[in-house]
């Protein structure tokens, strides 16, 4: 319904429910505001946005007053201006005159407004205010004397990131936004996401320890290089330095404008003094700086020699989940076309290779990509083995908003009591490694109770009978014994999930990485298919991947058995297509996975290895073995930003440019291809990875025919499924996806199929020597292999502890106390750690943080050689804990 009103003598119309402010803005009439912000619910607190209703003479806060037919509004009447000035003066009266030294500087809305309204020094009596809050955290500075009580921080924290750390505290003059008990931020639940800082209109909340202060030159919109949420960020630049990072406001969808601490304050690794600025060549025990020419020639010479003497199969390449699509594409073309081997893999395969394969078998395409904003529409969200708070913070915000503001029910299946526990009504804590049995039981109950979506199952799926049959012999009472979950509870969860309507599943490494990861994923897919949730908007499955380009690296075919776009390497037709374009046929023999490469290197079969942007010594299981393998190589070349643990083992180290210093694209976990843009010149002599790969190919005498990234993109768009349009920057249209019920990402098979359920449990391995099960967890402040986050001065300053978290019962048995120094010992390694007793883990389970390159918890796991599906798994890891003697 259209409503017509008059604003400043102009007739304008809007739809019912719009506020005066919204309509004014739409009509190009500017009304100043302070507490209002498009991302936040209106508050009507500051009254700066006053307008006058000319018929009644009433002054209205335009940001909260809906339009009514026939209203006559004046936004600049004398009364309005007089009141507006008065309000601003009152604000300024309790505000210090420290604008010149205030870090908010020209970004301060209060100062801008005062200038606009022509207000200088305020004649009112000053109201003394409490000043700076002394806090130890290295991220956020609070100076409450500059606070104008607009509550934007409170609403940002509550509505955008749903942490609810801040609220008003105290009455009258003493009121201020505060944490629980008015503790410093570091002693509150603050995650230092920076949302409040980004929205504070004054200098009350500012970023601490910026590398540089004052006004910045310009800003460049790009993509955060940490996790696979792919947040849009804005890098503020001054003198070839990234001096500040903000959530990008260019985002098409403002729901996505909130970062986590890594995006906001963790990108200072770009200018870390540890950055490599020159190529290095090892002479004897030590590295010496070299020119690019020398380094490339030594590398090319060594690779050529190995190839001539031992054949292409003795060479291998690791691609990178942190490099761009273009770089990964070039790298696999380099491996296949220049070196002549399919021995290429990327770091994410250790986590998700099994998952991809299962999904491919069921859906026809080895990936699931749902738009995570659809979570807001879910009626129910089932979170299984995932802690989005640390692995995909933006998904965590959306998920929590769905639960808190849109009424979604939340069910948690996890042995750990993750933070989502506080929002959930149902938390199932199955015994370690039994998730698939539990999930299959849910399917059985759904079938038995006839809660399946018959229409969908009959018309859109295949193989239902096989599933139904496979579940016949599953005994729920046995399941109860195996999983520790009561039958009624299973029944309840099955009913809630099946009858919710739009039911989404969010899952992560907590279940994909288990020994039975494949069965877990199959069972989840079956559940979604049974209930018709697989392609339902608001339903579906969300696989939380980790690194920013984990999806893209796989799409690009840095995989031993797939060409780009998941074309099977053993398919002659697929090879022919690439051969025609490359003028050289990719080898037919499937290559080695990353873990196979490690074993073969140790066995002396792989002799030369080229690693870009991965740090296997910190991110692969069984670090001791990985180290031996790397030492056995004839030649190792590592291309990275830093001299990582792995790079130290290399003969040649090539300095790569960071994401801020190059162009390209990342594909996020939704499958969205997003552009990264160059913000600063490469540091020192570092070069973008894609240039290095091209130069290395040329040095090997097989130059690739590209002179620019655009040309690379064109070839990719011709050859790679789902990237057809990306060279002209069109993403797959979301509309198309939902209207046709199919996506460009699911084209390979007509109907998704059920998989028969497998639920025989492995004999429980009890090991007297290693009685505890080790789980590893991401933390909010470190990421991936940790090679970047540990070099962010603020992240590492804030979180340098290395805690082994242990249940009270186990602690008592061993007589351990919080704060004690211990060693965590597995069959393949040991690490020193500090004890923390917690109820986050159940009895028998201990938790270590990941992403600490100096203490790689993943290195305690064994690296299993390829099993039937050529899938490396970091299997369950058993450990024991010993008290440390003395200092370590």
């Amino acid at each position: 319904m259209l409503v017509t009103i008059t604003i400043d003598q102009r007739e304008v119309s809007g739809h019912a429910g719009m506020t005066i402010l919204e309509l004014a803005r739409e009509s190009g009439i500017n009304i100043p505001t302070i507490c209002e912000h498009p991302q936040l619910t209106p508050l009507g607190g500051c009254r700066i946005c006053l307008v006058e209703n000319e018929q009644t003479g009433v002054l209205l806060a335009s940001c909260v007053t809906p339009i009514a037919p026939g209203m006559i509004i004046n936004t600049v009447s004398d009364r309005v201006l007089e009141h507006r000035k008065m309000i601003l003066k009152l604000m300024l009266a309790s505000h210090p005159d420290s604008c010149l030294v205030c870090d908010k500087g020209n970004n301060c809305q209060l100062r801008q407004l005062a200038a606009d309204l022509g207000i200088g020094l305020v004649e009112l009596d000053r109201i003394p205010q409490p000043a700076i809050v002394e806090e130890l955290n290295p991220f956020i500075l609070r100076d409450m004397s500059k606070c104008i009580l607009c509550a934007r921080c409170i609403r940002a924290c509550r509505e955008l990131v749903v942490e609810g750390v801040l609220d008003y505290f105290g009455r009258g003059f003493k009121t201020k936004p505060a944490t629980l008990y008015d503790f410093p931020l570091e002693n509150s639940e603050c995650t230092f996401c920076g949302a409040c800082v980004a929205l504070c209109p004054t200098g009350a909340l500012t970023e601490k320890e910026e590398m540089y202060r004052g006004a910045t030159g310009h800003a460049v919109e790009t993509i955060c290089p940490y996790c696979s949420c792919g947040c849009h960020i804005s890098l503020e630049i001054k003198d070839n330095m990234v001096v500040r990072v903000k959530p990008s406001v260019d985002n098409a969808d403002s729901r996505l404008e909130a970062l986590c601490v890594k995006g906001s304050y963790g990108l200072d690794f770009i200018h870390s003094p540890d950055r490599l600025t020159k190529p290095l060549i090892k002479k004897g025990e030590h590295f010496e700086e070299a020119t690019w020419e020398e380094a490339l020639n030594v590398t090319a010479g060594a690779l050529k020699q190995i190839k001539t003497e031992h054949g292409s199969a003795s060479l291998a390449v690791f691609g990178s989940v942190n490099c761009t699509n273009e770089e990964n594409y070039l790298l696999q073309r380099f491996a296949r076309g220049v070196l002549g081997t399919n021995n290429i893999d990327n770091g994410s395969s250790l986590e998700h290779a099994a998952t991809r394969r299962v999904i491919k078998n069921s859906l026809g395409f080895p990936g699931i990509n749902y738009s995570f904003t659809d979570l807001e529409q879910a009626d129910l969200i089932l979170v299984v083995g995932a802690d989005p708070k640390t692995s995909a913070p933006l998904v965590n915000y959306l998920l929590k908003r769905a639960v808190k503001f849109y009424g979604a029910k939340l069910i948690l299946i996890d042995p750990r009591k993750t933070e989502l526990f506080y929002l959930t009504d149902h938390w199932l804590q199955p015994k370690i490694g039994t998730d698939f049995v539990l999930l299959n039981s849910l399917a059985k109950i759904i079938i038995a109770e006839n809660w399946i979506d018959h229409e969908f199952v009959a018309r859109k799926t295949e193989n239902y009978a096989a599933l139904a049959k496979s579940l016949e012999n599953l005994s729920l009472s046995q399941v109860e014994a195996v999983t520790g979950i009561a039958e009624e509870q299973m029944h309840l969860i099955a009913r809630l999930y099946a009858t919710a309507g739009k039911a989404a599943i969010v899952f992560g490494t907590g279940i994909t990485q288990q020994a039975r990861g494949k069965e877990n994923v199959r069972a989840l897919l079956n559940l979604a298919l049974l209930t018709g949730n697989i392609w339902r908007k608001g339903g579906g499955l969300h696989l939380l991947q980790k690194e920013c380009n984990a999806q893209g690296a796989c799409d690009m075919g840095t995989l031993p058995t797939f060409l780009p776009g998941y074309q099977p390497i053993d398919d002659p037709h697929a090879r022919a297509v690439f051969a025609e374009c490359w003028q050289v046929e990719p080898p037919a023999k499937p290559g080695l996975t990353a873990s196979e490469t490690i074993f073969q290197a140790k066995a002396g079969i792989i002799k030369g290895l080229y690693i870009t942007g991965e740090n296997p010594l910190a991110s692969f299981p069984h670090s001791a073995l990985v180290k031996e393998a790397l030492e056995s190589l004839d030649f190792l070349v590592v291309q990275d930003l830093f001299l990582t643990e792995t790079a130290r083992q290399a003969k040649v180290v090539l300095p790569a440019a960071s994401f801020a210093e190059k162009e390209g694209t990342f594909t996020n976990l939704e499958g969205k291809v997003q552009k990264i843009r160059q913000a600063i010149k490469p540091l020192g002599q570092s070069r973008p990875d894609w240039q290095i790969i091209l130069q290395l190919a040329a040095a090997l005498g097989h130059p690739m025919p590209f002179t620019s990234l655009e040309e690379v993109k064109e070839e990719m768009s011709e050859l790679i499924l789902f990237y057809e349009n990306y060279a002209n920057e069109k993403d797959v249209e979301e509309k198309e996806f939902w209207e046709t019920g199919t996506t460009h990402r699911l084209p390979l098979r007509k109907f998704p199929g059920f998989s028969p359920a497998e639920y025989s449990t492995l004999p429980v391995e009890t090991d007297d020597e290693f009685p505890l099960t080790l789980l590893t967890e991401n933390t909010s402040f470190h990421f991936g292999s940790g090679s970047r986050s540990s070099r962010s001065s603020r992240l590492s300053k804030f979180d340098s502890s290395f805690l082994v978290r242990i249940n009270e019962v186990d602690a008592q048995k061993m007589g351990l106390f919080t704060g004690e120094q211990v060693r965590v010992i597995s069959a393949v390694g040991q690490l020193p750690a500090t004890v923390e007793i917690t109820d986050v883990v159940p009895e028998g389970v201990v938790l270590l943080p990941r992403s600490r390159p100096d203490r790689p918890a993943i290195g305690l796991f064994s690296l299993y050689p390829a099993n039937e599906g050529k899938i490396p798994t970091a299997k369950t890891c058993h450990v024991r804990i010993e008290r440390s003697l003395g200092h370590e």
């Binding site: 509550r158 942490e163 609810g164 750390v165 801040l166 609220d167 008003y168 505290f169 105290g170 009455r171 505060a178 944490t179 629980l180 008990y181 509150s188 639940e189 808190k404 506080y422 929002l423």
Partner: protein
């Protein structure tokens, strides 16, 4: 006598109260009042417990408590002493009465005596200006005060 440091919190009772009120539609304020009635105040460590069960943020619960003057997060004395600071009382020596009350009780405004007997507050006007200067102890109003009378008052009341 119950000392401040000895206030024992009956956790079970707290949980029962939360469970009971959690079934209501708008449970927070009635629950907070009930907790205050039962325990004398809303002890700070109960805030996260209340918040978690009601699916609110702890800071929100604290914000609500701090908004209402009648909700306390510190133990209160069994009797509240309110010294009047209204104009009539002021001109007739209210200031001295306040000063002496503080001395008698050994506490400042807003504080509670160690034996949890008295909490001291000031009020704008009690509405019995004819009796100025005035003071209220518990529910009893005392007027026409002078230093001697005040001293006797606290003796009588056991202060």
């Amino acid at each position: 006598m119950n000392k401040k440091s000895e206030v024992e919190i009956d956790q079970k009772k707290l949980q029962d109260l939360i469970t009971h009120y959690n079934q209501e539609r708008w449970p927070l304020i009635p629950l907070l009042q009930k907790i205050q009635d039962e325990f004398g105040y809303i002890f700070p460590s109960s805030i996260p417990l209340i918040a978690r069960r009601l699916k609110l943020h702890p800071s929100e619960v604290q914000g609500v408590i701090s908004f209402y003057a009648q909700l306390y997060t510190e133990p209160r004395g069994r009797k509240t002493v309110r010294v009047c600071r209204g104009t009539a009382c002021h001109v007739r020596g209210g200031k001295t009465i306040l000063k002496q009350t503080k001395e008698h009780l050994g506490i400042d405004e807003g504080e509670t005596t160690d034996d949890l007997e008295y909490t001291l507050e000031t009020v704008a006007c009690i509405g019995v200006c004819a009796l100025a200067p005035t003071i209220v102890i518990g529910h009893q109003v005392y007027g026409n005060l002078n230093p001697q009378k005040l001293g006797q008052l606290f003796k009588r009341n056991g202060g």
